[in-house]
C-alpha cells in the first residue's frame, strides 16, 4: 500500500464535510479562549476543563431525561457566574499572561480530578434523541449533532463579532485591550467590562462543552487532547477575534480531514501545525 491514495469524489466530499464539522467545534472551543487572551490578556487553560465540566453536566442532566439542548438554559448562566468568579479572583492578584497560564493549568487539573471523582475516569457517551439522527444530501451523510454544533458555532461567532464591532460595549472592550489607561480616561468601566467578558467566555465554552457531549464520547483525561489544536485555531485566527477561530478551526479541520483521506491519519496533526508555523512565520504579529 502506498502512503498516498487517490480518494473517490464521495470520500473526499464526505471528508471535507466532516472537517467542517470538527473545525466548527475547534472554533467554538477557541472562541472564548481567543477573547480572553486577546482582550483580557489572560490565557485561560481552564477553558478546556470548563468545556468538559459542562459536557459532563449535560450528560448528567440528560440521563435524567432533560433534552441536551435545554440543559443550556441552566449550564450557560452557571458558567457565566463561574467565569466572573474566576476572573474576579485572578484580577485581585493582577496576574501576568504567563502566570494566568500556570494558574489555570492547575485549575484544569483540579477540575479533571473533580470530574473523575464524580463520573469516574471511564468513558461516557451521551444518549439523546439527536445521537442517531442524520440525513443524506446526495451521497453525503449529514449527522444532526454535528450540524447543531456548526449552526451554534457560526451563530455565536457572528453574534460576538457584531457585538464587538457594532456596540459601545464592544468598542470599550477593544479600546481597553488596546490601551487600558487611555480607555479608562475616556470613561470605560474596565473592571465591569472585564467581568462581563470573562463570564461570556466561560458561557461560550460551556456551549462548546454541550456540543462536545452531543458529538463525542467523553473521558476526563481527553481534555488535554484538545489544547494543541484549539490553540492553533486561536493563534491562526488572531487573538481577540470572534470570527478568526471559527475560520481557522474550519481550515484546520478540513486540512486534517483531507490529509486523512488522501494520506494517513497520523499526518493530520503535521499539516495543521505546519499551517500554524507558516502563518506565524509570514505574519508574526498574529499571536501578539
Amino acid at each position: 500500500m502506498s502512503a498516498f491514495t487517490l480518494p473517490s469524489a464521495t470520500l473526499l466530499a464526505q471528508s471535507v464535510l466532516s472537517g467542517i464539522f470538527v473545525g466548527a467545534l475547534y472554533g467554538l472551543m477557541g472562541l472564548g479562549l481567543s477573547l480572553s487572551w486577546g482582550l483580557l490578556r489572560l490565557i485561560n487553560l481552564a477553558h478546556f476543563a470548563f468545556a468538559f465540566l459542562a459536557a459532563y453536566l449535560c450528560l448528567q442532566l440528560a440521563s435524567h431525561g432533560v433534552d441536551p439542548l435545554l440543559t443550556l438554559l441552566g449550564i450557560v448562566p452557571a458558567f457565566f457566574a463561574l467565569g466572573v468568579l474566576l476572573h474576579w479572583a485572578m484580577a485581585r492578584f493582577a496576574l501576568t499572561p504567563f502566570n494566568s497560564l500556570l494558574l489555570t493549568f492547575g485549575l484544569m487539573g483540579i477540575v479533571e480530578a473533580i470530574i473523575q471523582s464524580i463520573w469516574t475516569a471511564d468513558f461516557r457517551k451521551l444518549e439523546s434523541v439527536y445521537a442517531n439522527q442524520k440525513f443524506k444530501v446526495g451521497a453525503l451523510y449529514v449527522p444532526v449533532p454535528e450540524l447543531i454544533t456548526l449552526v451554534l458555532a457560526v451563530g455565536l461567532a457572528v453574534a460576538i463579532w457584531a457585538v464587538l464591532r457594532g456596540t459601545d460595549l464592544g468598542r470599550s472592550l477593544r479600546a481597553a485591550a488596546e490601551d487600558a489607561p487611555i480607555a479608562a480616561a475616556f470613561g470605560v468601566h474596565q473592571k465591569r467590562n472585564a467581568l462581563l467578558l470573562a463570564g461570556t467566555c466561560a458561557a461560550l465554552v460551556s456551549i462548546a462543552g454541550v456540543c462536545l457531549a452531543l458529538t463525542s464520547t467523553l473521558a476526563p483525561s481527553q481534555m488535554y487532547a484538545w489544547i494543541g489544536v484549539v490553540f492553533a485555531a486561536v493563534m491562526l485566527g488572531g487573538l481577540g477575534s470572534a470570527l478568526g477561530p471559527l475560520v481557522a478551526g474550519t481550515l484546520i479541520g478540513v486540512s486534517e480531514a483531507v490529509t486523512m483521506a488522501v494520506t494517513a491519519p497520523s499526518w493530520a496533526p503535521i499539516v495543521s501545525f505546519t499551517l500554524l508555523i507558516v502563518v506565524l512565520v509570514l505574519r508574526p504579529g498574529r499571536a501578539g
Binding site: 454535528e146 464520547t217 491519519p265
Partner: protein
C-alpha cells in the same frame, strides 16, 4: 468395645474442633507486616484501567490476610500514584525500595510504567511480577514475570488465532483493512497482523495509522467504507473502537466483520454498533474460565466491588484477571520458597508452573513468557462471548458475521 455411632451432628462438631486451630491460625497472621510496594496510574489518562488493578489488589491482599498472610505475617500493600507517567513510576519504585524499604514489589500499569519499574527492579535485584506488559520483546530482565499470558511472539500468534477463527467462521474474509493506533503495544501487533494476513494469502486493501489520542475518526471511517474490506482489523486501544464505530454509524456503514485489539471492554460492549465485534481475551467471567480454582469467588467479589466503585463494566476480563494472576504468582513464589529472598523466589517461579485463575502457567519461555492463551471473543446480544478456540468457546456459541 462398640464403636460410637458417628451421627451427622457429631461429625460436624468434630470437623469444627479439628478445623478450628487451622482457621484460627489462618485468620491471625502475626508479626511485622510484609510490605509489597507498587505504583498504579490512579490519576491521568490511564486511570480508568488502573482502577481495575486497584480493586483487584485490594481484594487479593484482603483475601491473603484472611487466609493467614504470607509466611504467617500480615501483608500490607503500599500503592503510590504514578499519575500515568512512566518517569514518575521510575522515581516512585526507587523510593519504595530505598525509602519505604518494601519487602517485595508488584508491577504497575501499563507498559511504559512497567518498563520503568523493571529498570529499577533490575538495579536492586528485586522480583517484578507485572500485570499487562504489551511488548514481550522489551522484557529483558531475568527476574520479571508476566501475568498476561500472551506468549513471547504475540505479533504472530495472536493474529493467527484471529484469522484461524475467521477462517472457521461463516464468512472467511478475502480482503482486509488494517487500521491502527501508533500506540507502541498496538502498532507492533498490527504490523504482525499485516505479515500474517499476507502469509495466509489474504489481500490488504487498506492500511492506516493514527496517533494515540486522535479525536476525529470520520475520515478513517470514510476510508474504510471506500475500501470495502471483508474484515477490518482495528489496532484499537481504549476508546478508539467506540469512536470509530460512532464515525461509521454516521455514514451508515457496518463492517462485515471487525476486530478491536485492546478496546475498553465495557464501553464497546454497550454500543449497539459493536454487534459481532471481535477482540481477544485471556479470561472472561463465564465457563470454562470460571472453573479454575478461586476464579468463581474472585469474579463474584470483583463484580460487587467494581459495581460499588461505579465502573462501567464490573465483569472480570483480561485486565482484572491478569492483575489477580500477578498476585497469585508472587504468593506462590513466597510460599514455595518460604522466604522473601528475591533470587530464590525468581528461581522457583522460573522452574515451576503456577496455579492461577488462567490455569497452570509456565515462565520458562523467551523473556520468561509462557504460552499464548489469548482467545477470540465477540459481542453477541450485548455481551462478550468467547468464540475461539472451540474448546474454550462459550457453550452453544459460534462466531457470527454482520
Amino acid at each position: 468395645m462398640t464403636p460410637l455411632p458417628l451421627t451427622r451432628r457429631t461429625a460436624l462438631a468434630l470437623a469444627f474442633l479439628v478445623g478450628l486451630p487451622g482457621v484460627a491460625l489462618a485468620q491471625a497472621p502475626a508479626g511485622q507486616p510484609i510490605r509489597i510496594g507498587s505504583t498504579l496510574a490512579l490519576t491521568g489518562p490511564l486511570a480508568a484501567t488502573a482502577q481495575i488493578h486497584r480493586i483487584v489488589g485490594d481484594i487479593y491482599v484482603e483475601q491473603l490476610n484472611k487466609r493467614g498472610g504470607l509466611l504467617g505475617r500480615p501483608v500490607e500493600w503500599i500503592v503510590r500514584d504514578d499519575q500515568s507517567k512512566p518517569d514518575l513510576a521510575r522515581t516512585l519504585y526507587e523510593q519504595l525500595i530505598t525509602a519505604d524499604k518494601v519487602d517485595l514489589l508488584m508491577g504497575p500499569y501499563a507498559t511504559g510504567a512497567i518498563l520503568s519499574a523493571m529498570g529499577v527492579a533490575q538495579r536492586y535485584n528485586k522480583v517484578l511480577v507485572h500485570h499487562t506488559l504489551g511488548i514481550p520483546s522489551l522484557a529483558k530482565y531475568d527476574m520479571q514475570f508476566p501475568a498476561w499470558s500472551l506468549g513471547s511472539e504475540p505479533a504472530t500468534t495472536v493474529p493467527n488465532t484471529v484469522f484461524d477463527a475467521l477462517a472457521a467462521g461463516p464468512k472467511p474474509p478475502k480482503t482486509v483493512a488494517v487500521v491502527t493506533s501508533k500506540f507502541p503495544s498496538i502498532q507492533f501487533m498490527s504490523a504482525g497482523a499485516r505479515e500474517v494476513l499476507k502469509k495466509r494469502g489474504l489481500q490488504e486493501v487498506l492500511f492506516l495509522e493514527w496517533d494515540f489520542g486522535n479525536r476525529d475518526f470520520g475520515p478513517i471511517a470514510n476510508r474504510i467504507k471506500d475500501a470495502r474490506p471483508d474484515f477490518v482489523w482495528v489496532g484499537a486501544i481504549g476508546l478508539d473502537g467506540n469512536l470509530l464505530l460512532d464515525a461509521m454509524k454516521k455514514i451508515d456503514y457496518t463492517p462485515p466483520q471487525h476486530f478491536y485489539l485492546y478496546p475498553a471492554p465495557g464501553p464497546l460492549v454497550s454500543l449497539p454498533e459493536a454487534k459481532n465485534a471481535l477482540s481477544v481475551t485471556i479470561f472472561e467471567d463465564q465457563p470454562p474460565f470460571t472453573s479454575h480454582p478461586g476464579a468463581a469467588d474472585f469474579v463474584k467479589l470483583y463484580r460487587e466491588r467494581a459495581t460499588k466503585a461505579g465502573l462501567a463494566d464490573p465483569s472480570v476480563e483480561t485486565q482484572a484477571a491478569a492483575s489477580y494472576t500477578a498476585w497469585q504468582i508472587l504468593e506462590a513464589g513466597v510460599n514455595a520458597t518460604r522466604s522473601l529472598d528475591d533470587k530464590a523466589i525468581a528461581s522457583w517461579i522460573k522452574a515451576n508452573r503456577v496455579d492461577t485463575i488462567q490455569g497452570k502457567l509456565r515462565f520458562n519461555g523467551t523473556g520468561n513468557f509462557g504460552d499464548d492463551l489469548m482467545r477470540v471473543k465477540q459481542v453477541q446480544n450485548g455481551h462478550w462471548v468467547v468464540v475461539w478456540p472451540k474448546e474454550v468457546a462459550t457453550p452453544g456459541v459460534k462466531l457470527q458475521a454482520n
